[in-house]
Structures are given as C-alpha cells and as structure tokens.
C-alpha cells in the first residue's frame, strides 16, 4: 500500500460509533472556534477545530454514509488526496494542542479532541507528521527519551539529587509502594523535581523507587498519533512496574504523560494494568489528606496556578493542586477561566516538539498572557514541565516578570526542617 492508502486505512480503523455520531451531529455553528486559542488569538477561520477534521470527515462520509457510498460508487465524490493531507498537516499538528476546550463547548456534544487524536493516526500512517515530532518519536523509541536523555544522564541527576538532599534515591527496588516516572524535561531542565520528590516521600515515609528500564513517562507516540509506537512506549513502563511489582506508578509533572499512562495505556497494550496509576498531584493530595504531608510556613507572594489541559479537562485532576497550594500559599489567586476552562499554554499535544509551530505558538500565547495579566502575580505554579517551559518561553518573549515553578518543589520548599534533618540522619545511618 502507498502511504496515502495506509493513512486512509488508518482513518477507517479509527472511525467508531462516537466519531460517526459526532460527524453526523455537527451543524457548523462555529462555537468550537471561539473555544480554541488558535482561532481567538489569530482570528483565522481555518483554525476552527472542526475544520481540522475535514479529511477524516470525508473518509467517514465516503465509507460510512449512504450518500457518501453512493457518490463514491457513481464517481461523484473525490477521495481524499495526499496533497490534501499535506495541506491539513499543520492544522492537525501545529494548531491543535489537544487541549480539549472545543470538546467542552460544542453544543451538540462533539468530542473534537477525541477525533483529532484519532485523526493523527491517519496522518502519521500517511507519512504526514511534522519533522520535529517524528524526530522526538524516533529518539523516544531508539534512545528511550524524546530529548535523547539516557539512563546515564538520569544517573548523573540522581547523584546530584542525593548530594543536594542527603537522601538516597531508590532505584529498582522491588515491591515498593510507588514507582516514580519522570519526563525528560524534568531530568534536563528541572532537576529540582527529583530532589523535591525524594524529600517529600522521605518526610511522609513512603516507599518508592525509580526503574532503570522505565524512567521516561512522556509518550511521543500519543502526540504524533501512532498507537503502535505509543503502545511500545507504554509497554516499557508496564514491564518495569510489573518487574518491580510496585502498587502504584506515579505520573510526573507532565500533562500528556498522564493521559498516556493513566487513560490510554491499558487500551494501547490491550489489557488492564495490574497496578494503579496516579499523578504526582494526586499522590501529594492523598498524603496531605492522610496527614503524612506536613508543611510549615507560607508563601506570601501573590501566586496563581496554571492548570495543564491534560490534567484538568482531559484528566480530572482539578481540586488537588488547589488544596495543596492552599497549604503553602497565603495569597493564592485564581486566573479567570481557571480549572476545567483554563486556556492552554499553547505547547501541548506535541506542538512544543514541532519547531515549525514555534511562531504560531508564541503568537497564541497572548491568551495566556491576558489571563495572567488579569491577576498580576509574581509566581506561577504549574504541574507540567512542558507547560512550564512554554510559559517560560512565552513570558520571556513578552517581557513578563514572572517566576514559574513546579508544584512538587513548591511543596518541598515548605517541608518542616526538623523532618528533613531526621531524614538526613536516617540516610547517613
């Protein structure tokens, strides 16, 4: 088969009852445009979310509707061409972060994000994925990380963290309660994450481990839209967790990794997990609720929280970060549209890995800027390294004076000093 045929075949594979229902229901009201930051910030109608699905809609019509089949039989309709897929590639990859706002507003209830995720299966099978994402995916498969991070780099990180905290970072410990995953960004850009986790878990008396075979939580396969590759990447984690016989796998401060491991993973490998998957925010909140997470002192600076799309709208982690922040911050304010209606940083869904989209991404950051300007904070907390980099990038481009931090390190900064002393003693003993 040609690449195009592979792509069309993948579209047909992906079309299920919900998608048929969604395409049937669309009335072209255009409300999804008003929910999409790529439209609101550019005013270009081609960024209307449902329009991004035009090739898939045509495949649906041709293969799954009476008139479409009839027209195809009589030669009255043209099949989707390779040139069209090429034309749609930037629409599906560069101008959609899979943020899910359109799915929340559609009056007929179309889950447009669900469709775009599936449409990418057809695009990548047809060979129409952005080079940046292809590169990241190849690195994820071959090296183990989209950023090319190897276990050696992680080991160096571990050493640093152990030196900083005076704690031992457990590696490949069997039967631990938690297996901690990381995103490459946390390894490369935000090394404070590992230390923060070590200190918090130590204080809470949690048994945990890293897995040398499965450290990477991110999943380029999900972003590029290849279930084949996504399954491969998830399988590594499943194998690691099952090998170490852990009870729970913790998704790091990353949005799409959570979607990949928590919601898509079991479906990708075709069986339910034998372990639980929680986001680090859920774990921290559980510890807080059990009284195992103690903090002291309060941030007095005005701060706000940026909800990563994959955690709120597409993940259901909504209240946890708020409860945690209220533990350590006395001046926590919410941005307009915070929570499930939050606006995307602009770099989700693989957009950040796609250099071609950089200019557009920075342009649509104006939405986030407007949200931030409305509250005027000094500190912005988030729980996704990708969001964090995008926010830093956007803040820099817009000359915004903003400190952007992760949730775990914010909590770790307020751990009681006494406990940390004990921890040091314990680790040295």
């Amino acid at each position: 088969m040609t690449s195009l045929e592979n792509g069309i075949n993948a579209f047909v594979e992906q079309i299920d009852t919900p998608i048929a229902s969604f395409f049937n229901s669309c009335v072209h009201c255009g409300m999804c445009a008003d929910a999409c930051l790529f439209y609101t910030e550019t005013g270009d109608p081609k960024y209307t979310p449902i329009h991004k699905l035009e090739p898939m809609r045509r495949v649906w019509k041709r293969n799954f509707t009476f008139w479409g089949k009839l027209a195809a039989m009589l030669g009255l309709s043209k099949p989707v061409t390779d040139a069209e897929l090429e034309e749609w590639e930037p629409l599906i990859y560069d101008s959609c972060t899979l943020c899910g706002r359109c799915s929340m507003v559609c009056p007929v209830g179309n889950d447009i994000t669900y469709m775009i995720r599936k449409a990418r299966e057809g695009m990548v099978a047809a060979g129409h994925a952005p080079d940046g994402l292809k590169g990241a995916t190849v690195r994820a498969v071959e090296i183990g990380s989209p950023m090319g991070v190897t276990w050696k780099t992680v080991q160096a990180q571990i050493k640093h963290a152990e030196q900083d905290t005076g704690l031992t970072i457990p590696v490949d410990v069997e039967n631990a309660e938690y297996m901690v995953l990381m995103s490459s960004m946390e390894v490369v850009n935000f090394p404070e994450y590992m230390g923060a986790i070590a200190r918090i878990f130590d204080q809470a008396g949690v048994s945990w481990t890293l897995c040398s075979d499965a450290i990477e939580a991110t999943n380029s396969g999900i972003q590029i839209g290849s279930s084949d590759i996504a399954a491969q990447l998830v399988q590594r984690i499943v194998d690691g967790a099952e090998k170490l016989k852990v009870k729970t796998v913790i998704s790091p401060e990353c949005g799409h990794a959570y979607t990949a491991i928590r919601w898509e993973g079991a479906n990708l490998i075709g069986r339910p997990y034998s372990f639980k998957v929680l986001h680090i925010l859920e774990v921290l909140d559980e510890l807080r609720e059990q009284g195992r997470l103690q903090t002291e002192g309060m941030e007095t600076a005005k701060l706000t929280f940026h909800d990563p799309c994959q955690l709120v709208r597409r993940g259901g982690v909504v209240e946890e970060p708020r409860r945690l922040l209220n533990m350590v911050a006395s001046n926590f304010v919410e941005m307009p549209d915070a929570g499930v209606w939050n606006w995307c940083c602009g770099g989700g869904g693989g957009v950040s890995a796609n250099e071609r989209a950089d200019e557009l991404r920075l342009k649509v950051f104006s939405r986030k800027k407007a949200q931030l300007d409305a509250v005027g904070v000094e500190t912005l907390v988030t729980a996704c390294s990708n969001c964090r980099i995008m926010l830093e990038d956007g803040a820099e481009a817009n000359n915004m004076d903003l400190q952007i931090v992760g949730m775990a390190e914010t909590i770790a900064a307020h751990l009681p000093t006494k406990t940390s002393t004990t921890a040091t003693e314990e680790s040295s003993s």
């Binding site: 047909v12 994925a129 292809k134 590169g135 190849v138």
Partner: protein, 366 residues
Amino acid sequence: MKKQVTLGEQLRQRGISRRTFLKLCAVATSAMALPPAMIPRVAAALDKAVRPSVIWLSFQECTGCTESLTRSHAPTLESLIFDSISLDYHHTLQAASGTAAEAARDKAIKDFYGKYLLIVDGSIPTKDDGVYSTIAGRTNIDMLKEAADGAVAVVAVGTCASFGGIPYANPNPTGAVPVSELVTDKPIINVSGCPPIPVVITGVLAHYLTFGEIPALDSFGRPLAFFGESIHDRCYRRPFYDQGKFAKSFDDEGARSGWCLFELGCKGPTTHNACATKKWNGGVSFPIESGHPCIGCSEPNFWDGGGFYKALSTTTRPLANWTGAAVVTGAAVGAAAGVAAKRKRSAAKRAHHTVTADELKKKEEA
C-alpha cells in the same frame, strides 16, 4: 314567443307595492355584496328586466338542491326571482310528464335559442357512454350538450354539478364529471354546496337579471360575492380558535360552551361559502351554530377529504402502523449497513500498517 313582460310589470300585477319591491331590491343588493348606494340602480334594472327563460336539467343528483330552493320561506327574494323567471323545464317541479315534458324543453330551446339560462344540478356520468343516467332514453351527456348549445350561460347548482360531488367521489363508479368538463364554450357559474344556500342561487340570478352579465367568479368559477371568504374567517366561533379553546368531543364542556370545532374536524378554514353570514332556514342558523363542524361541502372533493371528523391539520390516512413498519424496516436496513460498516473496519484493522520508528526516520530524512 311569449310576451315580453318586465319584472316590474309582473310584480305590480301581483300587487307587490313599490315599498316592498324596494325592500326586496335592498336584500338583492346586499345578497350580491353590492353597496347600499347601488339599491336604486338595482331597482331600476330589475324593474325593467325581462323575464328570462330558464331550463333546469337534473342529472345524477338527489334533488337536495331543488329542495333547498323550494323550502325557503315566502315571501322572499327567492320567490321573487322564481316568480320572475320563466322556468320552462324542471322535471321535478313541472306538471307535465312524459313526451309533453320533453316537448316543453325542446320548445324552450328552440324559442329562446341563444338567450335562455341553463341551470344544471347533479353530475353527469360518462362511463360506458353515459348509460348510468338517462332521461327519456337519452343520456345526460347528450341532453346537456344539446341544451348547453343554445344557452347564454350555464349555472351549475350544487357541488355535484360544480365539482362532481358525491357521485364523483372515490371510486366514482359511473365516471361522473362536473358540468365544466363537458361544457367548455359557455360561461359557467358554479354555485356549489351540498346543497347550496338558496339566497346564493337567487343572488346569482338577481345579478344576471340586474346587470345582464355573470358576476365576478373565483378560480373555481364560484361567485366571489358569496364564495370570497372562508367559513372560518367569518365564523362567530373564531375567537375561540384564536384563544386555543376547542371542543374535544360533541358532549364535553367545550362543546356546550360553544367553543371552536376545529379538533372535531371542522373544515371551515378551507371552505369558501356564505353559510356563516347568510345562514340557513331564513337566516336562523348554520351547521357550526348548531354544534356541528363544517364538512366543507362547497369545495371540490369534499367527500374524499379524509373524514369529516378528522382535524384539518391531521393526515387523512392512518399512519401508526405505517411508521411502525418504517422503523422495523429501517432497523433491518440499518443493521445490514451497520454490519457492513463493522466489516469495513475489521478489514481496515487487518490491513493495518504498523508505524515504526524506522519508517519515521526514513521519512524525516527524505
């Protein structure tokens, strides 16, 4: 030829006073829907009008139309008009019978050729060469054509003559047709109704006598003066329709309160006639006033209108089974299409192309 007696002379001979004559003229004027200012003109015209010869042919009918005319109360405009025309042939009303009766008709046709008015009630059967109704051995078709030839105009009285009426209704075993299908070269005035309102018939005749021409007609050839408005528009129960107050059965509170009969099948909205204004039995009442919905008898095909007691907005055919069958068939067809769609997906899954890193690398490099 008979002596040319004017209507005025005739009335004076019968002792009708000028005052009574003017009153009758006022009634006639209003019946023709003319303004009161026209009364003197109407009076002058009627005074000088010459008794026209009229031939009345009854075909496939029930005599209801004749009954309607003759049962009106005297002294009325009807009697005035009928006294003032020379009804030379009407096989129900005339004394003569047999050959004498036929001879009277032949004579009238010959004497007043090109001048007489032809009134027809009843439809004309055409199937099997018209054998289903004959008079003195002649078919209705034959008799109508002969009489119409010399007529100045034809007045089709009643719905049967106007639109075919009941004989014309499905399945129309006699091949009945209205006058207009057989007579195409003469002006035809359709005075429909089953039966028509007497004053409407006489109003038309009064108009002809007064002006010597036929009145303005609607698209069905009916005098606009009487058929210009719908029953519904002039119905005294109309306010209840607008308020949404409807009788649901013939003995409920709504029926007793005189509410609108739309839901009981009233065809007033699509029926054009003067019942609501001229009324019946000397202006006493009309069907809706006595609690029965209008059955639309002055409209074409009223007998096949889908039931007198079915609301106008409903379908005329039972559809519950029909829709049920459509759903069942739809489910079957849908299931077949669904299975085909499922197969298509399974085939696509079997033909699945596995995306590999190598392939992405190649593409990236390319």
